[in-house]
Every structure is written in structure tokens, then in C-alpha cells.
Symmetry: C2
Subunit: 253 residues, 2 copies
Amino acid sequence: MSNVDRIWTAALVVIGDEILSGRTHDRNIAQIASWLQVQGIRLAEVRVVADLEDAIIGAVDTLRAQHDYLFTTGGIGPTHDDITVDAVAKALGVSVIVHPEARAILEDYYSTRGGLNEGRLRMARAPAGADLIPNPMSGAPGLKIGNVYLMAGVPAITAGMLEGLTGTLEGGLPLISETIGCWVAESEVADLLGCTERAHEGCQIGSYPFFREGRVGANFVVRSTRRDALDACIAVLITGLKALGKDCTPGGI
Amino acid sequence: MSNVDRIWTAALVVIGDEILSGRTHDRNIAQIASWLQVQGIRLAEVRVVADLEDAIIGAVDTLRAQHDYLFTTGGIGPTHDDITVDAVAKALGVSVIVHPEARAILEDYYSTRGGLNEGRLRMARAPAGADLIPNPMSGAPGLKIGNVYLMAGVPAITAGMLEGLTGTLEGGLPLISETIGCWVAESEVADLLGCTERAHEGCQIGSYPFFREGRVGANFVVRSTRRDALDACIAVLITGLKALGKDCTPGGI
């Protein structure tokens, strides 16, 4: 396998009782997944765990060994339920320090906002050896140690951190995709989808059914790292659907 | 520990490349989490895995042993990428059969919709020994085998299946919660939150910051299985915030 064909993978640990209680709809999974694709890295697994040290340690320990990169979201704020830094440090077998650069950033950020206090200083804590990930929105930085990236729970803050990381992670060829939508029950065309995928090496076809306005339809997403293979697969799929009397909507419905 | 104090837990495996690619925002995590809370069952972990047999088997095998219940969403449709039934059967060491009752349901459902075909018949396949979970929306049933519940990927279909399961799972006392919102930086009140939680056994306080209209605020969510403990904790928290000159909004902002 040449280096360009190597598939780089990442995992994500979403840390937060608010997701597991159903109170908050997670938005970081889709955000980080989309961003990783552009970096040529595939999100291979996500785990959502509670604000419990053992749960975080277990997930971090397993996933950082299995993947090129591990991201976490949540639990790096100033309150008592923010325990990600401690858990990750334990998982990595390092101590927790007050990061001088992070402390300076927070001192500056809070100089016009009431000053540093004990809670705010918590956000300068880091696993020993970590580098900072700048947070253009609200001061408190993310952290990078080894292949582990600690991001914020608030999606807008994580978005700012990701922007700064763009282009800095080694990846492979980005996975590209094309979608075609069709007002058809996917069960009518299951055979066509399976045969078309098998006939196009390096392409995967996903079928995503929906119900809208009382009608059934589906979007078919073809993914590949190769543009030529992708285009050929899409063309065969459209021809096959037309042969069954179904019109397609490029880009999806 | 009396039986009433026992904490029942569930895990969820979300199966689908479309979530890991960022194309689709998951809505089943929050939906199932909220439903479980009402049943007195705590969602303790979620894993999102790709449409790969080994990934599904690994997650199902681990989580069904660790929790009272395991739910899966996705991968029970008619197309080639729907492999949940096969993977769960392998994880449980049972064969895959065509479930006669499921087949009858599908024959009836598709009698006015073009009849059964090979793809549609895939949706009658089940791990041997499974019971059906009725699907009031689109025929193809969910499946229950042991403590494993196989649900649809389309959130509206899973909603219908959950409705039918309401009240049928043994659980403990439902976790209840109260939220108060406050236009305050959580870092200003981190101490208050930690102290208040420690002073109220059986209560957890979660702090969920946000940025809106250019201002920082946070919602504080107190969770407990006991109404009296919850009320006492909320009262102390409101008093503490008022002492710091902060007004609270019951129900959250």
C-alpha cells in the first residue's frame, strides 16, 4: 500500500452527561466528522461517555491506541464537572500542571472580565507535556498531547479551534462523495445498489431513506477517495435507476 | 441497596457511515436518552460505529454484558449496507432466520406497494429467537433478543417503536431534573456549584455554558431520583446565585 492510499483514522470521545440525558443534542460529532474528511482523515468511531473519570479513561485509553488521532469534546471548562484534563492525564500516565502559557492567556482574557479566580484558573490546567490549541472565541485553550486533542463542548468554540488546526494534521486522500436523490422506496432498488457497489472497487454506496410529504424516497451517497471511480459509479447508478423508470436529483433531495 | 435504589443502565450503538461522515446529524441519541429516562433507565454510554460487521460485533458484545439493556439504531433496512441483523446474530452466537411473523407483516404491508422482493424480504430476517418490535409507520419491525433491542435508523420510525415499548422495560426510579438559567459566566460561580453539589447527596449539578446575543450565560441542571433532595438543592443554588447578585430563570434560558 503506497502512502497515498493509507487510510488515516480518528476516534472521538464526547464527554457529557447532558448528551446522555437527552437534554442536549450533540452537534460536535457531525462538525468534527465533516472537518476530518477535509483533512483526509476518517472518523471511525465515536463514544459518548458520562462525566465519570473511569469512563473517560477507558474510552481514551482504548481509542488512542487504535487510531491515528483521538479527539475529545467537553469537560474542559471551569466547573466541578469538568474532569477531562485529569482523566486524560491519568490515561496517559502524566501529571496535571498549570500551563504557564494558558495561564497568561486567561489572565489577559479575564483582565477586563473580573480577573482570574479559582474556577477560571482550572482552565489553565493541562496534562504535563501538552501544547495549546488556540481558542479565538473565549480564551480558554484546547489541548494537544501526543495524538490526543482536547476540544470544548460548546460547538461554536470547537469550530474556532478546528479552524486553527486546519491543515496541521497528516492525513491521506480526502474521501469525496456525491449524492443522488430519488423518490423511490430503497427496498425497490436494493439489488441495483448492491450490484453497483460490487462492480466499482474503491466505492461505497450508502442508502439513506426518508419519508417526506407522505412519500418515500432515498438519498444514495457514493463515497470514494478517487474522483474517476466515483464518477463512473454514479453514472452507472443513474443509468440503472432510469432503466427502472426512476428520475434522479443530483445533489440529493 | 434496596431494589428501588438500583440504577438500571442502557447503552446505545448507533450504526451508520452517514453519522461518521458528518452527512447526517444523529437524532436517535437524544430521542432514546429522553425516552429511557422516563422508563427509569439511565443511558450510560453510546458508541457510533461504521457499517462494518466487526465494529458492530465488538460494540454489541462489550456493551450488552455491561448494561441491563442495549439498543442499536440503523442497519435493519433492505439494502446491502444493512448488516445489523447478521452482526448481532454473530455476536450472540445464533443463526439468522426468516421470521415468519415478520414475513407476514411485510407481505401485508407491501401487498398494495408492489409486493415483496428480495430486498424487502431482507427485513424479515432476524437472529433466531428474536421477538418483533412493532413498527406502526412502515411495516418492517424492530427486533428484541435477550437484552438487545434493534431499532431503525430513521428517527421517526424509531419513535413509533419506542412508543410501543413504553412501560415494558423494568427500570428504577426515573431521574428527574430541574434547570435554572443565569446570565453569568460559569467560571464566576464554579465554587458555588461544586459546594452545593457536595452538600446535597444524591444530586448532580451539570453546568452548560452558552453564548447568545453577545452575552455569556449558563444553564445549571440538577438531577436526582428524589424530588425532596432536588428541590432542596435547587433552593440553595438560587439563594447562592442571588447572594452573588445574579437573577435566575427557572426552567433555563
